[in-house]
C-alpha cells in the first residue's frame, strides 16, 4: 500500500517550498489550497480505513535511518493522533479560504509557513521515533516564529523571541528526558533505540526510582509548557495576541503538548516511582489552570487577549482529564483538544475580523456590531456558547466527560474546576454583550459584514462544532479505545 503517512507529512512541506517560489498572491493561495485539500482528502481516506476498535498504531512505516544510534524513520497513527490529524487537515484548508482575499506583504512566505506548520504538526502526531518526534516538534517552532515576527502586531518581535526561547527551553528539557530514557533502555537491552513504543515499554524496567521520576518530570515539563498549563503559560498570551489571525489559528492547531501527555506520559505514569505524586501534580496544574485562566480572561480588556487566556483555561481540562485516569475523563481530555481546536479557530478568526473592520480589539470600544454584521454575530454567538460549554456543542461533551470522569478519582480538583464554569460564562457573555449587542458605537465608522470566503470557512467549522456536539462518536470512539487501554495499565499497577 502507499506510504500515506509520509504523504500527509511531506506534501505540505513540498507545497510549502512551491509556495515560496510563487510571485503573486493568487498563485500562492492556490498552491496552499491545493496542498491542504490534498492532505484533507488523504486524511479522510485514512480515516475511513482506520480501525477504531484497536489501540495499536496503524499505517506504520519503518525505514532505518541512523543504525549506529538506533534512529529509524518510523511513522504510525492511533486513536490519539488520528483525530488531531483530522483536525489539522480539516481546519487548514478553511484557514486558507479564510485568508483568501486578505492583502498582506509577501503572501508566498505566508502560505508557505501555513503549509510548513501543517506538515510539522502532522509530523509530530505521526512520529513513532523520538528522534523524528523531536525534529518535527522543533520544526513547528520555526514557521510560527516567522509568522509572528513578520505579520504580527506592534510588539511582535518581543513576543516572537519570548515564545521561541521559552518553548525551546522546554523542548530542550524534554530532550534531556528523552536522552535519559534512551540510555537507560540502551544499558538494559544493549542495543540503542529511539523507538517510542519500545522505549515506553522499557521504562518500567529501569531500576532507579529517582531516574524514572526525573525522566518523567523532564518529559512532562516539555509537554506542560506547550499545552500550556499554569504557571508556564506566560508565553502564550503575548504570542497568541501578537500573532496574525492565521498565526493564532495555527497556534491553536498546535496540540502537540496534550498529545505528548496522552501518547507518552500516561503509559509511563503507572510505572513511575511515585505515580500519585505525578497525578497530583498534573491534576493541580490542570484545575488551577482552568480557574486561573478564567479569572484572567475575565479581567482582560483586549478581546483577543481574553480569548488567549480562555484557551489556557480550556487546556486545563486536558491536563485534568489526563490525570483523571478514567477512560471517560482521558478520552474527554483528548476530545477537548479536538473541540478546542475547532472552537478557538473561530474565536480567533472573529477577533481578526473585528480588528480589521473596526481597527480595535478593546472590548469597551466596540458595541452593537450585531446590527451591522449579522452573519458574524450568529457564528460568534454559537462559538462563544460552545466555548462556555453549552450542551449540544462540542465543548460540552469534552468538559462533562472530563469533569464526570475525573471526579471518580480527583473530586476536590473537579470542584475547583466547577467554580470556573460560572466565571467562564461570565466573561464570554460580558464580551458578547459589550462587543456585539447594545447600541452601535458610531465612532467605529461604517463596517461591512464578513465576506463569502470567511462565512464559508467559519460556517463549516461552526457546523462541525455543532455536529460533534451532537454526535461525538466518530472521533470519540477511537479515543475511548486508546484511553481504555491506557487505563487498563493503571488498573494493572493498581494506581
Amino acid at each position: 500500500m502507499m506510504p500515506i503517512l509520509s504523504m500527509i507529512v511531506l506534501i505540505p512541506l513540498i507545497f510549502a517550498a512551491l509556495a515560496l517560489l510563487t510571485k503573486t498572491k493568487e498563485q500562492a493561495r492556490a498552491i496552499a489550497l491545493a496542498g491542504t485539500v490534498i492532505v484533507l482528502l488523504l486524511t479522510v481516506y485514512m480515516y475511513f480505513n482506520f480501525d477504531s476498535t484497536i489501540a495499536d498504531n496503524q499505517f506504520k512505516e519503518l525505514v532505518p535511518w541512523v543504525e549506529s544510534l538506533g534512529i529509524n524513520y518510523h511513522l504510525g497513527v492511533d486513536g490519539i493522533s488520528m483525530p488531531l490529524i483530522l483536525l489539522n487537515a480539516i481546519v487548514l484548508p478553511l484557514l486558507v479560504l479564510f485568508t483568501w482575499n486578505d492583502d498582506r506583504k509577501s503572501p508566498n512566505k505566508f502560505y508557505a509557513f501555513i503549509l510548513a506548520t501543517e506538515g510539522a504538526v502532522i509530523g509530530v502526531f505521526t512520529a513513532l521515533d523520538f528522534f523524528l518526534f523531536y525534529i518535527f516538534w522543533e520544526l513547528t517552532l520555526i514557521p510560527l516564529f516567522f509568522m509572528v515576527s513578520i505579520w504580527g502586531g506592534p510588539n511582535k518581535h518581543k513576543a516572537a523571541i519570548k515564545f521561541f526561547i521559552y518553548t525551546h527551553v522546554a523542548s530542550l528539557v524534554m530532550l534531556l528526558g528523552i536522552f535519559g530514557l534512551y540510555f537507560a533502555a540502551w544499558d538494559m537491552t544493549g542495543t540503542p533505540t529511539l523507538d517510542i513504543p519500545t522505549l515506553i515499554a522499557q521504562f518500567q524496567f529501569i531500576e532507579s526510582g529517582i531516574a524514572k521520576d526525573m525522566i518523567f518530570l523532564a518529559l512532562l515539563f516539555g509537554f506542560i509548557v506547550k499545552i500550556p498549563s499554569f504557571p508556564f503559560h506566560s508565553w502564550l498570551p503575548d504570542a497568541y495576541t501578537e500573532a496574525p489571525t492565521a498565526g493564532s489559528v495555527l497556534f491553536v492547531m498546535l496540540k502537540i503538548g496534550g498529545y505528548g501527555l496522552f501518547k507518552i506520559m500516561l503509559p509511563m505514569l503507572p510505572f513511575t516511582a511515585s505515580p500519585n505524586l505525578m497525578i497530583t501534580i498534573m491534576a493541580s496544574l490542570g484545575s488551577v489552570s482552568i480557574l486561573y485562566g478564567a479569572f484572567l480572561a475575565l479581567s482582560q480588556k483586549d478581546l483577543k487577549r481574553m480569548v488567549a487566556y480562555s484557551s489556557v483555561s480550556h487546556m486545563g481540562y486536558v491536563t485534568l482529564g489526563a490525570a483523571g485516569l478514567v477512560s471517560l475523563s482521558v478520552s474527554g481530555a483528548m476530545f477537548q483538544q479536538f473541540s478546542h481546536g475547532l472552537i478557538m479557530s473561530i474565536m480567533f478568526m472573529s477577533c481578526g475580523i473585528i480588528k480589521n473592520v473596526t481597527g480595535t480589539r478593546i472590548i469597551n470600544d466596540l458595541g452593537g456590531l450585531a446590527q451591522k454584521m449579522p452573519k458574524l454575530a450568529v457564528i460568534m454567538v454559537l462559538t462563544f456558547m460552545a466555548s462556555l460549554g453549552l450542551p449540544g456543542l462540542s465543548g460540552f461533551i469534552a468538559e462533562v466527560s472530563v469533569l464526570a470522569g475525573s471526579f471518580v478519582n480527583l473530586p476536590s480538583y473537579v470542584m475547583i474546576a466547577l467554580v470556573a464554569i460560572v466565571i467562564t460564562a461570565a466573561y464570554h457573555l460580558w464580551a458578547l454583550q459589550r462587543a456585539m449587542f447594545g447600541v452601535y458605537n458610531e465612532k467605529l465608522g461604517t463596517v461591512t459584514d464578513i465576506n463569502t470566503y470567511q462565512t464559508l470557512s467559519m460556517g463549516v467549522i461552526a457546523i462541525l462544532i455543532l455536529y460533534f456536539g451532537l454526535n461525538p462518536s466518530p472521533v470519540l470512539e477511537m479515543m475511548l479505545t486508546n484511553s481504555e487501554q491506557i487505563v487498563s495499565l493503571m488498573a494493572v499497577m493498581g494506581v
Binding site: V66, I135, L139, F164, I165, H168, L172, L176, Y182, F183
Partner: protein
Amino acid sequence: MDLMLLAPEIVIALTGLAVLLIGLFLPTGSKKILGYLASLGVLVALGLTISSLGTEALVFYDTVSIDALSQFFKIVFLVVALLFTISGIKYTEGNSNTEEFFALGLFATIGMMFVASANDLMVLFVAFELASLATYALAGFEKNNAKSLEAAMKYFIIGSLSAALMLLGISYVYGATGTTSIPEVAANAGILASSPMGIVAVVLLIAGFGFKIALVPFHMWAPDTYQGSPSVVSALLAAGSKKMGIVAALKVFVVALIALQAEWQTAFAILAVITMTYGNVVALNQTSVKRMLAYSSLAQAGYITMAFVVLTPLALGGGIFYALSHGFMKAGAFIATAAVTYMVLSENKESPDPDHIDNFRGLGKRMPVTALCMTIFVFALAGIPLTAGYMSKFVLFSSTIQAGFAWLAVIAILNSAISLGYYAKIVKYMYFLPTDSEKVAEPYPYTVAMVVAAVGVLAIGFWSEPFIYWAMEAAKVLVGGM
C-alpha cells in the same frame, strides 16, 4: 616507506609553492587563476584523503601516523581550506599579493594536517607552529587596515606566549618520560603523574592548546582577532585552527597523558562550563556580527570540550563529529559575513565597521541566497533539528547524560537555549527589519562557498550515518590508548 600515504600533504605543499611562484610572474589583473589553482589542489588532496580512508600506517620513523583520527581531521581541515580558497577567489580580487594569501592559507592547512597525523610531540609542536605562523600573517593580510593589523598583533603575541607555555610543558613531559613519541610517553606517563611536574605540565599544555581552542581565559585574543582579520581568514581560524587545537589536545591528553586523566579532566570540566557560559552570555549583546560569531565559537568550543570531561567512546566520537559540523557551520557563517562585508564595502569604501549588524537589515531582500545560507548556519549553530548542529549536539549531549554527567548536560542545554537569543537576533535583522537599500548582485565565489557549506550542514544533519560512523572510528583510535 610509501610517500603515497602523504600524498594529500604533498599535493597541498606543491600547490602552495606553485601558487607562490606563479604569482610572482602574473600581473595583478590575472591573479584570479591562482585561486582556482589553489582550490583545485585542495580538491585533489581532499579526493586523495577520502580515497585513502581506512588506511593505517606509521611513516617518518613512526613520528607521523595515518589512522582514522588523522584522516577524519584532515578531511575537516581540507574542507575548511576548500571553502577558504573558493571564497578567497573573490576576496583577493584585484589584490597584488594574492599568491601570498593562498600560499599562506595552504601552508597553514599543511600544518593542521600534520598536527592531525602527528605521532610525536616534536612533530606536533612544529606543525602547530607552522599553522600558527601562517595564520599570524594571514590575520594581518590587510596591510592598510588598522583593525587587521591590531588583530594580527594580538593574535601573534598571545600565540607566541602560548607557544612558549606549550613548549615548556612539553619540555617537562619530555623530562619526566625521556621521550617525545606519543605512544612511549603514554607508556611512561606514570612517572610524570607521580612527580610534581605533572600538574604543571598538564596546565601548561592546556594553556597552549586552550589558546587555539579559545577556552576562557586563554581566549582573549579570539574575539578581537576574529573581528579584526578578514572574514575569510576568520573562517579559517575559527573553523580550521580551532580544530587543530582540539585534535592536538585529543592526542596529547587522551592518548599521551591518560595517566594524568584525573587532573586534566577536572581542568577541562571547569574550562568547558566557564567557556560555554561566558561565550553565550557575552555574545548576547554584540553589535559586530563577526565578534558575535567569535563568542559563539567560544561557546561551541566549550561544548566540544565536554568530550574531554565525559571521555566515553561515544562522547569522544561526538566531540570529533561536532568538530566536523562546526567546521561547516562556522566557516559558512563567516563567509556569509564576508559576502556582506564585501557588499557594504563595494557600496561605501570608507564604511567604518562593515560587519556591524545593521548592515544585515533586510538582507533577506538584498541578498536572498546569502541570507538563506546564513539562516541555515545560525539555526545549525543553535542546534535546530535536521542540521549538522543538532545532530552533533544530540550525540555529544546524549553521551554526557549516558556517562552520568547530567549536571554538565543541563548547563550545556541551558546554554544552547541562551544562544538562541543572539542567533534569532541575526535572523530578525535579516528578515524582519525593514531596509531602504535595494537588491544587490551576490558575489558568486562567496555564494558557491556558502552553498557548499550549507549543503554540507544539511547533509550531515540529515544523512548523518556515515559521518557518525567515521567519527566513532576516529574515537576508537583514541580509546585504544585507554
